[in-house]
């Protein structure tokens, strides 16, 4: 994990889809994310929040503007470097059902380690303890179809954390879950953020979930509409 004050910074970040009428998904966005933040990005659908998250997570390239990780511009990075950085420093939590169905819960969690060729008995123990911690210690040898939605989402969280990333992007992490399960998934993310100082960026359209984060970024038509700390923020 890299220790620095600002983990991620964007300068005039823009994503435009060319056509007869160019569509700006994200426009001139300046954003600074300090290390250890627990923040959310909200906005109506089509506001550009997923596009923004994909660019921040190095899954997509901006049309213009700059994106710096720990002060280093990423625009010039080759695909191999981007892949390696995603593997080592970034964790992703997608909406439910994005585990590999042919692999058990534990195997799914271990895959980022295998991609980075970092598998070792100690790290396997670490993965098991992660699963224990999220309450799936006794289900680690089950495959995703044999687990509930909430359990699968927790496996996805464990997978996002197994490589001890600096930053985790969560796209609608509770979108497919009932309210009780949502609550426990949120608690887990919050706990890891506090204990491990892992930065969390949660993309959601649920105002309730966003309201629990320390900072809420609101997007509208690809532009930053507001950037504020919610009143009821628990921290």
């Amino acid at each position: 994990m890299i220790q620095t004050d600002t983990i991620l910074q964007t300068i005039a970040l823009t994503k435009v889809y060319e056509g007869i009428q160019p569509v700006y998904a994200v426009r001139d966005l300046d954003l600074t994310i300090p290390q250890g933040s627990f923040m959310s990005i909200i906005g109506p659908s089509g506001s550009g929040k997923s596009t923004l998250m994909n660019m921040l997570g190095l899954l997509d390239r901006p049309s213009s503007g700059s994106l710096k990780y720990m002060g280093e511009p990423t625009e010039t990075w080759e695909e191999k470097r981007r892949s390696q950085f995603r593997n080592e420093e970034i964790g992703f939590i997608f909406q439910a059902h994005l585990l590999l169905p042919e692999f058990t819960a534990l195997e799914n969690v271990l895959i980022p380690l295998q991609i980075g060729r970092n598998l070792s008995p100690a790290r396997i123990e670490h993965a098991k303890s992660l699963l224990d911690r999220i309450g799936l210690g006794d289900r680690m040898h089950h495959r995703p179809p044999e687990l509930s939605g909430g359990q699968n989402q927790r496996v996805a969280i464990a997978r996002a954390l197994v490589n001890t990333p600096s930053i985790v992007f969560a796209d609608e992490p509770t979108g497919a879950l009932d309210s009780t399960t949502s609550r426990s998934v949120y608690d887990l993310m919050r706990e890891i953020n506090r204990e491990e100082k892992v930065t969390f960026v949660i993309v959601t359209h649920e105002r309730e979930l966003a309201g629990k984060t320390d900072r809420v970024i609101t997007l509208l038509d690809g532009r930053l509409q507001s950037d504020e700390a919610p009143k009821e923020s628990p921290s």
Binding site: F94, L98, L99, E102, I115
Partner: protein, 422 residues
């Protein structure tokens, strides 16, 4: 249950490819089956046909001389030269006198045989005389070709001995003759009876000492075998023969050695390869046809691999997206699908070789039809053709890799964002 399975320590592409194949058994099975069927056909058909061709060739070649040294090349030319001085009208000579001037004898053949035997690669030589004669038995006459041989030498050149019935080749003496059994039958003679042979230079009464049965109609109707001395005496050509049969160590060197002998001794030679040129062409043609059929089979198998892998890539696009998001480089994703094709095609190849072996065993075990023999050859057990097995392995593996390139490339370039949002 061991958690840290050893496979988990392999590169991610091998690990995932293996798991995909195991969990998509139906698709894996179809791919391996397509390759397996293709491979077994590519091996089976040439195994059957080339086994027969090979046996036929071996049989024909083994039962005859590899090389025949026929006559002095310069004889005809020399005689023509002589005649040219006698008859200035050259055109007429070429047409009318050529046959008259053809002298087929090889003089001083014993020296020649020992000279030829010194050439590396020549194993046996058997001089012979071959000439038309009239055969007389009572009021019956026939014309046929008499062959004068040295029984000891001839045995090493041809399978003549195997066909001798009611007597022996070894004991053939100067006043004896061996006849083809159909010829003997037509003449109404049997072993122990006498016949007369007539030539331009004389006649001789000979006792039938044995019969020859080759199984080939025309031969059994024409064979007249006598000793070399008898033939030379009947034709008034002592110390001359009309030809020398040769065996060589490597039968495929016959053509080269025949040319060498022709050049060195100024003789005319023919090799079994020239004599069987049509048959060798047939084998070559068969190989071309098999290559074409193989191409079609492999193309069909490869198409099935391509379409199935395209389906797999499509159905796994979300997984591919996740793997990419987690940092799997595009090349590793490509290798993941190439590997599946390679592994499945190898399984298919092994199954195909097994299938071909099974088909061959089945073929060998199937009872033969009424026709006991073809061209005097009985049914021979067929074995796996090694050349085509190697060829099938190579062809199947290569085409599987080519077939998986498009799906693998598609998987590699898949945009993770699009794949995940599907």
């Amino acid at each position: 249950m061991s958690v840290a399975h050893w496979m988990q320590y392999l590169p991610i592409e091998i690990y995932v490819a293996w798991r995909y194949m195991r969990f998509n058994l139906k698709q894996s099975f179809i791919v391996a089956l397509a390759v397996g069927i293709g491979v077994s056909i590519i091996i089976f058909i040439p195994s059957i046909n080339l086994s027969f061709f090979g046996y036929f060739l071996e049989k024909t070649v083994e039962s005859n001389a590899h090389i025949k040294v026929v006559r002095e090349l310069d004889t005809e030319a020399r005689n023509r030269q002589t005649l040219k001085t006698l008859y200035p009208d050259e055109g007429r000579i070429l047409v009318s006198d050529q046959s008259l001037t053809r002298r087929r004898d090889i003089k001083a053949y014993k020296n020649l045989v020992s000279e030829i035997m010194r050439i590396d690669g020549i194993t046996t030589a058997a001089p012979y005389v071959s000439e038309s004669v009239i055969i007389v038995r009572g009021s019956q006459t026939r014309t046929s070709t008499m062959r004068g041989i040295l029984p000891e030498a001839e045995k090493n050149i041809s399978n003549i001995e195997e066909n001798i019935q009611q007597g022996s080749l070894d004991t053939l003496s100067d006043d004896q003759v061996i006849l083809g059994w159909r010829l003997a039958d037509e003449l109404g003679v049997n072993v122990g009876n006498r016949i007369q042979l007539l030539t331009n230079f004389g006649k001789k009464s000979l006792k039938v000492s044995a019969l020859s049965n080759t199984g080939i109609y025309q031969q059994d109707l024409s064979t007249i075998l006598v000793t070399l001395d008898t033939a030379q005496a009947l034709l008034n050509m002592p110390n001359e023969v009309t030809g020398i049969g040769l065996k060589v160590r490597d039968m495929y060197q016959a053509e080269n050695l025949a040319r060498l002998i022709a050049r060195t001794f100024d003789l005319k030679t023919t090799s079994w390869m020239e004599d069987n040129a049509v048959f060798l062409d047939q084998i070559r043609m068969f190989r071309v046809i098999i290559a074409f059929i193989s191409f079609l089979i492999v193309f069909a198998a490869a198409s099935s691999i391509t379409s199935i892998l395209i389906m797999v890539v499509a159905s796994k696009s979300k997984d591919i997206g996740i793997l990419k998001a987690m940092g799997t480089p595009p090349n590793a994703i490509m290798r993941m699908f190439l590997l599946q094709a390679i592994i499945l095609s190898l399984i298919g190849v092994v199954a195909g070789i097994g299938g071909a072996t099974f088909l061959i065993e089945l073929y060998n075990a199937t009872p033969y039809s009424k026709a006991e023999t073809f061209l005097g050859i009985g049914r021979q057990p067929v074995t796996l053709n090694l050349e085509y097995t190697v060829y099938a392995i190579f062809y199947a593996t290569l085409s599987s890799i080519l077939a998986s390139l498009i799906p693998a490339w598609q998987a590699g370039k898949l945009d993770p964002v699009e794949a995940i949002n599907q």
